[in-house]
């Protein structure tokens, strides 16, 4: 059984990256990532035996992120408005905004593949779909990203590769 600590150090930056893209908020992403790793730590024997522990981790992280964002929405609703929190800009903001705008399945596939660094077999396991479907979903997503990024900046002739 892989040591939790080794696995944690391997996947922490990837999960934070993924959740940052999903939320646009690095602080919320870091906190949700911690929550996901705590849950993995508590269940390590079971998690480490899964077909795709990293896929499970990303799912739990995304759930934790949703809860956190939901709570913030509630707090905003029931609390007095405080000063706006300004987040440092992320590199390639237009690209990540376009990723966030993808349909759920395509967004998940892109995040798991490029931010989570998961192989297609793990993505298939995490999403509960066939491996071939992962490939076609990624291809569709890249095509949609190309279109989305070309629209506001047609003169730049930007192209998404891979």
């Amino acid at each position: 059984m892989e040591r939790f600590e080794d696995w944690y150090h391997q996947h922490h930056p990837r999960l934070v990256r993924s959740l940052t893209v999903l939320s646009g908020d690095a602080d919320a992403a870091a906190d949700a990532a911690d929550e996901a790793f705590v849950r993995a730590y508590e269940r390590w024997k079971r998690v480490s035996a899964m077909a795709s522990p990293a896929g499970w981790l990303h799912q739990v992280g995304a759930n934790a992120l949703r809860r956190r964002m939901r709570r913030r929405a509630i707090e905003r609703r029931v609390s007095r408005p405080g000063p706006d929190v300004v987040h440092p800009p992320l590199p390639h903001p237009e690209l990540w905004a376009a990723v966030r705008a993808l349909p759920d399945r395509q967004r998940t596939a892109i995040v798991l593949r490029y931010l989570g660094d998961l192989p297609e077999a793990d993505i298939a396991a995490a999403m509960g779909i066939a491996r071939g479907t992962v490939s076609s979903t990624l291809a569709d997503a890249r095509r949609n990203l190309e279109v989305a990024l070309a629209e506001p900046a047609a003169d730049d002739h930007e192209e998404v590769t891979r």
């Binding site: 600590e5 690095a26 508590e42 491996r131």
Partner: protein, 510 residues
Amino acid sequence: MIDLDAAAADLGESLDHVHPDVDRVRARARRRQRTRRIAAGVAALVLLAGGAAAASTIAGEEEASDGVVTGPGPDGATDPDPEPTDPWSASQTIDVGDLRVRVPGDWRVIDAATDPSGGCGGPQAVVIGDPAPNVDCTTAPELRVALLQEPLDGAGEDPQTVNGIGLVRLAPDPTPVWAAPDLGVRLSFGKRADVAAILGTIGPSARQTALADAANGVAAGWQVDPAAWQEVTYGGIAIQVPAGWPVTPGAAIESQVEPCLGWAITGPTAIVGATDIPCGEGDPWRPRDGAWLLPAEGAVDTGDGSWEELAPFDLGGDGLAPLVRVDATSTVLQIVVEPPEGAPVLLRVGLGIDGHVAGSILSSIRLADDGSESEPEIGAPVPIVLPCGTVAVPDRAVLDLPEDLVVDPQPGMGGWAPGTSEGICAVNLTDPEDPASHVTFADGSLPYGLGEELSGAATRAAGVRWGTIEDGFGGELSTAEGDTVHVLAYGLSEEGAALLFRSLATANGT
């Protein structure tokens, strides 16, 4: 040219300030364990002080919490897997057709008809319906519940009766398939499913309960309690609904959005007459009690084979022969009643959590004494409520607790006046370490005060407490994992809130 790999690497560099720290994770896990110990201790104190009604439920939670707190973690010398040992401590209810079955609370519930992966499912998942015909599944769920496509005509082996429901086995281990021929439902199990435990939970669905209650009510004669029920009439037809329900003209239904994305029956309400707003009759994810009388003409085609007689209804000798729509998955029963004189009337009845209120309403259908119509309270519109964003409570009967609390508060949820609409708009799993996430109740001890029918022993036994918060209702309950769950509900009437929290009690296994 943008390279996604390179962009991801750039993003990673910009996040260098987010340092991994495994000790932080371990410390947080230890705090969670301490919180659970405290929860278990509190439960034990409650056990000592509480009555017998609370004992069984809380004792179950305490056992589960004991399971949670054992083991120091993966780097320790003892069991590193402190997973709760009782997955049934917060089970979920699944209704398909006439069958109800319960599954562990941490399973995902997937509707094959809307699942983007085609309804394949996977470990710790229950799928409702068969996969799409063009989908080649590489994974299988723990349980698939689907309608039989055709009668079994005596097929199947090992016949037995569980909870009064006849079962036959259609396929052997290790992936057994069982069917309830009389109810027309098939249960297909995965290799690791606890088949006996799941089969032990089967029972009648809310639809089946409603129809059975209706038949019993007709047989016994409708006993009207003037204090608890009120008569509502439309088109020469009379029904009884709970006295607390507002009676509203259909024309007063307002939509908060265009086009209408909401549901007509959004809570305990009697609606009389048609509306111009094209809405679904009932939210498939949130069963509600409610009734709506409207013209049947143009709304239904009773000759299309999808309606059947509501036998053995006699309806008190009034000569009425209502037809009920054959619809296995709707949370609303649709009934057409044709009075001897006048146009057919369509009655839509929300099945609610358990079907009992709907059954009473069905058995009360009569000819109106003088053909008059109820005069609803003008000026009390029932807004059609926009579901709170992407509704992802995949369980048709109760909320899915606690891992995937997924009713999202979204833009558009604000501005509801209490008691004028119905909607669960926020479900929040609190962090015990984060006081900011806790709900402050406005009325202290949270009296139930709504009568045994709606907030009775089951709710109290589940340890659910609820009351008013600043602009709505808040409920709080402890899960088997020792987490505290807060549910915030905005725009609910008190009766609607009672129904909501009763459903939470159900979700927690009472």
